[in-house]
Amino acid sequence: MVDFNRFTLANGLKVLVHEDPTTPMAVLNILYDVGARDEEEGRTGFAHLFEHLMFGGSVNVPNYDEPLQRVGGENNAFTSNDITNYYITLPAENIETAFWLESDRMLSLAFSEKSLDTQRNVVMEEFKQRYLNQPYGDVWLKLRPLAYETHPYRWATIGQDLAQIETAKMEDVKAFFKKHYTPQNAILVVGGNVKTEDVKALAEKWFEPIPAGDKYNRNLPKEQPQNEARTLTVNASVPLNAIYVVFKMPPRLDKTYQVYDLLSDILSQGHSSRLYNSLLKEQQLFSDINAYMSSSLDEGLFIVEGKLIAGVEMEVAEKAIWAELEKIASHLVTDDELTKVKNKSESIMVFSEMSLLDKAMNLAYYELLGDAQLLNVEIDKYLVITAEQIQEAAKTTFKKEKSSTLYYLANA
């Protein structure tokens, strides 16, 4: 159970407070409701590049990191296709420094050319390090445009290519900030050794004077239903053949989302899972095999991926994956399997309460989903799921005409 108090400032900023007196630390987490899905084609990678620029100084504070480190704090951030999330941990006594820094960069950035130049280079090196200079690193750059035709999920958060980052201009940066970095587009969570009334006073002092800005109304291109099997074959200098089969699945807020989560657990969570035992241990077709979800706010992906044992034919490996998917679509999972994945989900929930930062991030994310209180009832949604619902989800989803398959082949 993660308790919290909640209030909204006059400018629309939502604030949640989680009091945890057992720690001497505090966390300030701020989630901006903007991700790579809000980018335009041709200017992709921008939400993430922008995240880097948020550390390049703000209108009244030339350096973001230095004053924070000076009070014993640390920070980081991440960008996904859906959200951009920033977080600070620091000794609770110094919490006001976090308010000062975080509110100033919501007010306005310094927009320095030097910072833009440097971060363009840094992000291009990140692009190389994570996507180009790694075996299989570019898989998602290929898979996304295969699975999505119109929705902006068809590009990765890093962007479609290096050139779009290289040509990012200051005017684009300013426009992006104005459009997305407003109080009403953000959720602030403060947790740890703090009191709600103090947080309220600090929020009113530092954040409330920030102008509300214009409300951003999201209107993304809709993906048309997929009715044909799609395939793509890529040859690369990697040592092993690999296969990626992806299916569309309902968005995060759909009432069947948790059913899909358990479906992926039964298929692939841990060494008792079906794919691991059947495909890796018994048939020995794969040295790695996994099933998981993209957990996206809009229509998402259910992914099955594996690396083939040397000498195994792709066709044989692919058939074996489909045999497992068809099995779970045509037969009910056992009671033990279902209890197992429910127990595991319960454990995950309890263990996630060990970390103050995880609690703060979760509160922000569930508030974005509509209500932070959903976090505390999430497990109940898992506990009532039936074997029939899992079969139904598998049946609706695992269809050839709904699949996109990437064959990633080792150069001979």
Partner: protein, 424 residues
């Protein structure tokens, strides 16, 4: 009117409280250290064994035993073990480190009684089925093939092998080492290492009398294995620095890993060296990050660190940089080391690093698990909590002169092994 240009007041972290574990023994003499804290009804129990009997001709013996220990016992198949552990929502991890092997259980308290017998069977009755070993070998070789294509992996492996040679800290694992794995060798290692005489248990979470009694009930009785073992030995001598270059014609980035053997946590200068390391590359605002990432944009990240092993320590700098700036990056690294050795650190920067390190220490004590981790750091280095008292004192009081002296004593460009994988 709010003046946003003025930083709010702050204070330096003054009090850092460590939760010291309670020391107990099971009926058979196994030492148990318990950090009983936290609200959640969960526990983490680590069964820690020292690595022993290192044979450089069989460098994978200990690590393979660790990987396969949950893959079949006299009573349970690999699948049954996984199913039962998962059924109770528990997590079983097997971790192999340079000095120790840890079998770690995370469990909700209510399921502990069901899960502990499985762990007992694993630690006492593992049989290492040939079939499981064959699958392990096949899959590990495939993983190694993929890893060998990663420049950072290759740089790390080459670096360790160069400074540590064919020891447990540096052995250069190749495909043939996997082919040579024999079931009998695994069984022999298992019987020598997984015995109560070689086991320490660290428990953290809601671990009260009831949980201790359960632990004693299952693990305080006699164990199966008691074969003799010999402690691993290390006689590392510092080597002269060298350049090791592995060219990858199609690389778009080069992985750099450089450094040398150095003191470990037991040495009285260790805290000072940690402060020097933090200034150089130990945090986001470090000099290497400020110069090579934030000023030049050569890399996504660069950092330095000191690893404290039981019988050695080493200092390292690691980064991945664009191939066209690889040589410049190396020059800048050398430049930053020289500045640290010749110019007094300004109090402004040193004050920041002091506060950052104290805040970071405070923040690393988040829950029962992290308090237990802090205990492990000192316990397995034969130190006590004075170590942390001295560390905090050193962070608060070190002078710029001492920093120059420490940098000169321990950072020597010519003594560093410099591995570059990629292009330069």
């Amino acid at each position: 009117m709010l003046n946003r240009t003025i930083a709010p007041d702050f204070i330096q972290v003054n009090e850092i409280n460590f939760i010291k574990p309670k020391a107990q023994q099971l009926d058979n003499g196994i030492k148990v250290f318990t950090v009983n804290a936290g609200q959640q009804e969960l526990v983490r129990i680590e069964f820690i064994f020292q690595n022993v009997n290192y044979d450089q001709n069989k460098p994978l013996q200990a690590v393979s035993v660790n990987s396969l220990i949950n893959n079949g016992t006299k009573k349970l198949s690999a699948k049954q073990i996984a199913e039962q552990v998962d059924y109770y929502g528990a997590y079983l991890q097997t971790d192999y480190g340079a000095d120790h092997t840890a079998i770690t259980l995370h469990s909700l308290n209510k399921h502990l009684v069901s899960v502990l017998p499985i762990i007992w069977s694993i630690l006492n009755e593992s049989i290492f089925p040939q079939q499981e070993l064959d699958i392990f070998i096949q899959n590990q070789k495939q993983k190694l093939k993929v890893n060998l294509q990663k420049n950072d992996f290759l740089a790390r492996k080459t670096f360790a092998n160069t400074i540590f040679g064919e020891t447990a800290y540096g052995s250069d694992i190749s495909m043939s080492h996997y082919d040579d794995l024999k079931r009998d060798d695994l069984l022999a290692y298992f019987k020598a290492a997984f015995k109560p005489e070689n086991c320490t248990i660290i428990a953290a979470g809601k671990f009260e009398t009831k949980e201790f009694d359960l632990l004693n009930q299952f693990f305080g009785k006699s164990w199966e294995n008691h074969n003799a073992s010999v402690a691993n030995e290390f006689n590392h001598l510092p080597i002269a620095g060298s350049d090791v270059y592995i060219e990858k014609a199609d690389a778009v980035q080069s992985a750099i890993r450089m450094g040398n053997l150095t003191i470990n946590r037991k040495h009285e200068d260790f805290a000072k060296l940690q402060i020097v390391n933090t200034l150089l590359g130990g945090y986001f605002g470090s000099r290497l990050m400020a110069n090579i990432r934030e000023d030049k944009g050569y890399t996504y990240g660069i950092g330095s660190g000191i690893a404290s092993l039981r019988h050695a320590g080493y200092f390292f700098i690691a980064t991945e940089v664009g191939t066209e700036v690889c040589v410049s990056a190396l020059e800048e690294i050398e430049k930053e080391i020289n500045i640290l050795k010749t110019e007094l650190v300004a109090e402004e920067e040193l004050g920041l690093v002091r506060n950052y390190m104290l805040g970071s220490m405070l923040g690393s004590l988040e829950n029962a698990f992290s308090h237990a981790d802090k205990f492990k750091n000192i316990y397995f280095s034969d130190l006590d909590y004075d170590y942390y008292t001295k560390y905090i004192h050193t962070v608060k009081t070190i002078t710029p002169e001492e920093i120059i002296a420490t940098a000169n004593q321990y950072l020597d460009w010519n003594a560093m092994t410099k591995v570059v994988v990629g292009k330069k």
